[in-house]
Symmetry: C2
Subunit: 675 residues, 2 copies
Amino acid sequence: MTQSQPCKDLAAARAKTTFPVIELTRYVHGSDEKIAKRRHLASLVANDPVLKNEGRLGLSRVEDVKQGLEMSLRLYQLKEEHNLTQEEFLMCSDFVDELLPTTLHETAFIPIIHAQGTDEQAAYWGPLAEKHQIIGCYAQTELGHGSNLSQLETTATLNRDTDQWIIHSTTFTASKWWIGGLGAVATHALIQARIIIDGKDYGAHGFIVPIRSLVDHRPFPGVTLGDIGPKSYGGFSKIDNGFARFDRYAIPRENMLMRFAKVTRDGQYVKPPHSKLAYGSMVLLRSHMVRGAAMALARATTIATRYATVRRQFHVPTSRKDAVNPALETQVINYPMVQSRLFPMIAQVYALFAAGTKMRSMYESMLSELMAGDVRSLAEVHAISSGLKSTCSTIAATGIEDCRKLMGGHGYSYFSGISRIWSTYVPSNTYEGDNFLLTQQSARYLLKQVKVAATAPENLTSFSKYIVRTIDQDAFQAERCSVQQASDWLDADVQLAAFEHRAGRLVGELALAAMQEDVLWSDLNLECWRLCHAHSQYVLAKSAVEGVSNAKTQDYSQESVMVLKRLSDLFALHTIQASLGDYLEDFFLSPKQCQLLRQQIKTLQGSLADDAVSLVDAFDFSDHYLNSALGSADGDAYQHLWDAAQKEAINQTAVVDGYKEFIVPILNQHGPAKL
Amino acid sequence: MTQSQPCKDLAAARAKTTFPVIELTRYVHGSDEKIAKRRHLASLVANDPVLKNEGRLGLSRVEDVKQGLEMSLRLYQLKEEHNLTQEEFLMCSDFVDELLPTTLHETAFIPIIHAQGTDEQAAYWGPLAEKHQIIGCYAQTELGHGSNLSQLETTATLNRDTDQWIIHSTTFTASKWWIGGLGAVATHALIQARIIIDGKDYGAHGFIVPIRSLVDHRPFPGVTLGDIGPKSYGGFSKIDNGFARFDRYAIPRENMLMRFAKVTRDGQYVKPPHSKLAYGSMVLLRSHMVRGAAMALARATTIATRYATVRRQFHVPTSRKDAVNPALETQVINYPMVQSRLFPMIAQVYALFAAGTKMRSMYESMLSELMAGDVRSLAEVHAISSGLKSTCSTIAATGIEDCRKLMGGHGYSYFSGISRIWSTYVPSNTYEGDNFLLTQQSARYLLKQVKVAATAPENLTSFSKYIVRTIDQDAFQAERCSVQQASDWLDADVQLAAFEHRAGRLVGELALAAMQEDVLWSDLNLECWRLCHAHSQYVLAKSAVEGVSNAKTQDYSQESVMVLKRLSDLFALHTIQASLGDYLEDFFLSPKQCQLLRQQIKTLQGSLADDAVSLVDAFDFSDHYLNSALGSADGDAYQHLWDAAQKEAINQTAVVDGYKEFIVPILNQHGPAKL
């Protein structure tokens, strides 16, 4: 059989690759062992009759949740059949690529029992949960309250006589809301409620609350449960996000998780020894989200890059050398406009992966310091992870949808595969700290570093050392970018100096504004937002630069180092270009340097053209996981689109359901046609 | 019954309004008669048992399309019962707010028959279609080809012997694809196919092709039909976008639409008398899309503004005057950060409405000139409508999703109402000319105006007169913004001068680049894109300024004029701020002026705070049309969210479907719990 033109085009693109693809796969996923394990588990899922991609679409909401349950069960069976470790099991769940009714049981309920329960509690509840003899969910958010713990309205009032907590939704808006797994499935909820003892309020704490009978699955009296309804954009379709209202519902005192704070039999509240330890898990979660952003955007760029390679539109020359082939239109990926939209996103993915790796190692060294009682790095790691969560998840959500738009009309087909990535990814801009609110955390930290810079500059870390330059304001304001010709922009020090200068100026301005009399913090939110993103972009650029150095140290081939360097450069320059005003405003950049910047970006984009397909191949996604007619590894986009449509439920009958009831009456409303 | 706090909050916000709301409703929708008619038709739909909002959700794909058909039929019945004109009928269809299987029959098939058919053809096909005794669709796009007419692969080959066209899908990628109504419903397709006569190719023309039997609705032999499957983000869910392949399928020669080109009985191809007349309908469509962008973003800002008014988060002071109420958290809309995200979008809506009105009047005067044989304004109106289509639909798509993000976690509930607006709106960034490609049309036109400026400046129109200033490059480069204090930014001439200078600089740079030897047009696409948006933003700003003047002339109250002026100012200044680099790069703006700009924007935002709710109330959307739990007119957001969830299908049974098959085995995989 002759190969189709799209398949030929993709193969031809791969043939031009300048670097060993496996090296960049290692850069992204780690050792060869890890890569092999990923591939093995991905294929387990892809070949499983329940977990493969077919039959997931076009279901009613009730059927969707039912199918989610079927997948949950199948995953547990797979775990047993293949004797998977918990880590392997979670990787398989990732490859299924659906939030399932049991997802939060595994990723929140179980870990929080271990983190916040005493050893005895963990020994009791842990195995029950790990053998999913009970199914849990994590219930913090309320109808009237996002994740602002301090304003939760659910109460747990101690009844000393019965040694019980009385869980109560004090108002209508106190209803727990949005809780994954609560709507129809969970038997237990780990709820956050404010402790009230003798009328005194001790704030929110965690409790394990049995909510549905293990006998018949019905809610217990005093507990009202339900599903909150569909989510936006078709996202989260197989999971039962739910609500719960409690009407003076009693649970044993021992169901409070007591690793930190405790309440004794005689009703005494014992404060936790450290107050900041809880930050650790927040930092971990946000660090994970940096890598999560990279993975999500990596999938979208894989699809968009492959499709842009096989898609041909218009007979327009894109190179002075090549004659136009009159029989074939131009490959879309050859248009500079497409390159200028797509390639910076590929560069972003690599920068995000680098930052994810960096974040992980910062977290790990912080953790070992914490174990030794040293809390000094906590503030910075918390600030950076908050800032990166905001910046990276914004980059990814925007980028995924930009990938779809880049794919023209077919991008809007569900079969493009982008829709399911974006619709499930985009709420990450809101959860775990709203991306706008979070920027205040990072800005507050940087403001404090201004004081450190003035008083004890030796305490500044590598990510905030630049702030010391702002102390001598005359010298700082005289700083200028050193670029004289386009290629000077390829100097990593030049790039980082630009990011540092900009963030330094913004932190200085914020410090000045914050000192003004009568100023309210809320008046400065916009300034915090600007500063936070400026600093996070700096962290990203610096991580990308470090990634290149590490690749050198780890004996990557020269070709791989070179392509990583190009990506790091493109990330930095494209990011600077996107906020050019910030660099021009205090004359740090000259108009001439802006022109050189644009020129160098075009050159970089051109230099990545031959490697684009292999750069996304290196992310190593299976066709199953991509689940995209347009982005499959063989490139046969139109054939896959056609095939996918043929399986559509509507096409299984010769005449559409509703013909007699509705089409016939429409055609005949004014009598039949006389043709 | 006591009013809930959210209801009180929204009522209190309305009580602060400074202007007569009905005047801005007139500004948006026209005369009081038009407003009354809109309200009447909206209530017809809202109160109809089939067309009301209930029961639309959570259906399977087959059920969705079936319900679409039910709605189609009901709309036709409504037309007859209430003796609606076609215009009123189309307005009712808009209020139903679903693309239905018959939508394109009404908005494309019928109008194109009249536009491209001869009088005889219109007299034959018109009534059949208008009485929907046949149901049509418009089939242009192909699997391998977007709307690039010049590359379509479907052919219509003349068979002189039988006096027939042989319609044929010459390749796999020639399949018609994406065609609304084709998947399951249409009996006729108006297809675009290339005429081949005696082996000679005359390019694409329109044909009426019977595709499904009027007897049993089955496809005719030689025609393969089907549905292309679901679309992204849950959009277009009730319409059957479809595909068609033709295998040497014969239709009568007379089924070619022959108002312009003709083919005679003896096989002679007769060219159309004018080649540019077809542009007219494209311009009209794009003009409509400017208003469409305004309407879509207006709905989203209505929802977001109302919800931000009733939503309270954190006890944070936002005003130096007010004491914080310890019992009530702060209304989200009072945060400057929220104002800086939301209010510019409201200002954009008003600017888009102004541009829509302007576009409509430009189109109408162009049309009467065309009738008189004068084609001079065609090029400009085409360029401006292309540019505005790109800029405005980008603004709206981005803004709608920004509104959702502004609403925190609940924004991601389907019941926020944003999802359905965005998922159906966002493909407009791709169809009717991809927003990136379109910018070339506008840029090409402006490039030509540079020549006009040099040779016959008296021919420049009011939207391109500024280009004449670029001819004297020394004087142009010496231009500087005149702002000395923040309030100077409120001078409309100052604002427009800034937009003009920026667009002027970009068109000058593009002209220079285009003159370089060996340059390819495709190398300049990015420059075209920048220029097009710069020019379109200028057109928007100028239209908004004109809108304020018109309001004055039309005896609006001083208060309404004042608030329109603030909106126009905010639109202009926010838009300048978003591309500050462009204004700084050639020193047109100074750093000090940038600071004053930010300061003036903050002041403007503050000055709109008391009017925000009434500014969106003025759009005059019914609760039915908004279809949002969080944005309803009474403000009772949490109650509506609760109520909507209770109706959810999953909540209609005590135990979820799938309990026995899946939950029980999960719970018992390792034996039952021993609690």
